[in-house]
Symmetry: C2
Subunit: 299 residues, 2 copies
């Protein structure tokens, strides 16, 4: 079968063996934002030459995607998500069935929260953990990103989730704010001391709205360089994200593939939590498991 | 004499009587951002026909202004600010002395904070309060804006200050974020219920980075309309600003002139604090007092 993780800004395909092993991978920048109205042609090109049915997760199953699936409610496990998968046939992909995985919503609270795509990575993680002695218990998971997701896993189920707009706020402040001109344009130069100073500052009284102004005032008094300021801002925002989750779980699972994961791992350890890191292609693993549960998804 | 409050985006002039009464006012959109390199001509045009020396406060005394004055340190009182005023003569303004008021910095903390212009409004407020029985005691002051200032007054002095980037963050999220497209473009339509819902949400666990995502998730489930979303966001951000100041002083002085003041007054009362509102032209009052203390500023 074929596993597809199709988000807003990227598209990833995996050709899987009958036992779930990844045989081949293909990536594209054709996220759903880039290929509106030509999803079938984009997918057909990506999986050209790969046989079998296709299981898809991510924003491709949203209002702005190919078809919109309602969110599955928390708590959600593999059986519930597999049962909610929806099939589609498209003339551009003859002989194949496409199976879309729903996102997950936590709706019990006053304010709902949602994810699409991460739930499939979590199913992959749950399957990994199930092989371990304590695996069926409680786990705290963080998926860093533009919108970071924090998820509680309990007894093999996705029990609760919370989204943090950390990455988006960083980008907004970096590009459009009055702070932007106080920071070097080059984001690639990570400054460890600056990051740690921001992380430490996030624990001071005054709140995030106040701490942000420190990027300006520290710069005014030449106590923060334009080169270190982006890392300071990053440490400040990630610090606020983590401290909003206090007390942190003794161990936090991180899922991701970017350099961002290193920053989160460092910050979590600095705040006293242990870290286990997992690769993003847990999505392929999760899609395989969901297809197994669903049954009838052909190879 | 003439009092000038010259900020980044606006310029306000007051012709004062010998006893400090405002005889005439003039306003212009020629903030320092709009008239770089022609400050003298801009001022000469504004005060054309008004006699006397000129006292100026605001960003005109900053690195991007006419001359840069160092910040006066906290605690700062009228005597300290008057002593630090700097004179300037300019051929475009013959026969007049221009007197620039310094900004104020709090430097004792790990991270400094600064203001330019607000200190003069505060001197005006201190002068008003000195007429009252309890006026010489402790006061909490908030000046809402793009960058809100919170100031502690103690025994006739500016004792401490903290800046909150609330207004700027609102504008960034309103214009550039993924939330922007979920909100009606019209900012003028204030929605009281939406504002109160955001204000209430700001007191829930999870932190600001998480609460912001609620604008999206509530919208997804049609529990927040595009018309009410801007007010919800406003209430959320102002709520976080106020809660970072908890426990709020039993009474908070608000200084300002915009509709924003009403939102802050409403939010402060909802969180149990009393409010006293003061007009922005306290700056004219403060400049008059500083000129008196300084002496030798001619009419």
């Amino acid at each position: 079968m074929i596993a597809i993780d199709w988000g807003t800004s990227s598209l990833r395909g995996y050709r899987l063996a009958a036992d779930g092993r990844v045989l081949e991978q293909r990536r594209s920048d054709q996220g759903i934002g880039a290929c509106q109205g030509r999803f079938a042609a984009t997918l057909a090109a990506l999986i050209d030459g790969w046989p079998g049915d296709v299981a898809l997760c991510g924003m491709i199953g949203s209002r702005n995607g190919w078809i919109e699936l309602p969110y599955a409610p928390c708590p959600a496990d593999a059986d519930a998500l597999a049962a909610a998968m929806q099939p589609l046939h498209d003339p551009a992909l003859p002989g194949r069935t496409l199976w879309f995985v729903p996102g997950v919503a936590s709706g019990a609270e006053a304010v709902p929260d949602v994810m699409r795509g991460e739930e499939t990575q979590l199913i992959g993680l749950l399957d990994t953990l199930a092989q371990e002695p304590q695996g069926a218990g409680r786990h705290s998971v963080c998926l860093p990103g533009t919108h970071s997701k924090w998820v509680d896993l309990e007894h093999g189920r996705i029990a609760a989730l919370a989204t943090m707009m950390t990455g988006e706020l960083y980008a907004l402040l970096r590009q459009h704010s009055l702070l932007a001109r106080l920071m070097d344009a080059d984001d690639a130069q990570f400054d460890g001391a600056g990051f740690d100073a921001g992380l430490q500052r996030s624990g001071a009284p005054g709140g995030l709205l106040h701490h942000l102004f420190g990027v300006r005032s520290l710069g005014l008094f030449e106590r923060l360089s334009a080169a270190a300021a982006p890392s300071y801002l990053s440490g400040l925002l990630i610090g606020h994200e983590l401290r909003a989750r206090l007390p942190l779980a003794p161990s936090v699972h991180l899922i991701g593939g970017s350099g961002l994961l290193d920053r989160y791992a460092h910050a979590l350890r600095a705040l006293g939590s242990q870290v286990r890191s997992h690769p993003e292609d847990l999505a392929a693993h999760g899609l395989y498991r969901l297809a197994q549960r669903r049954g009838g998804i052909g190879h």
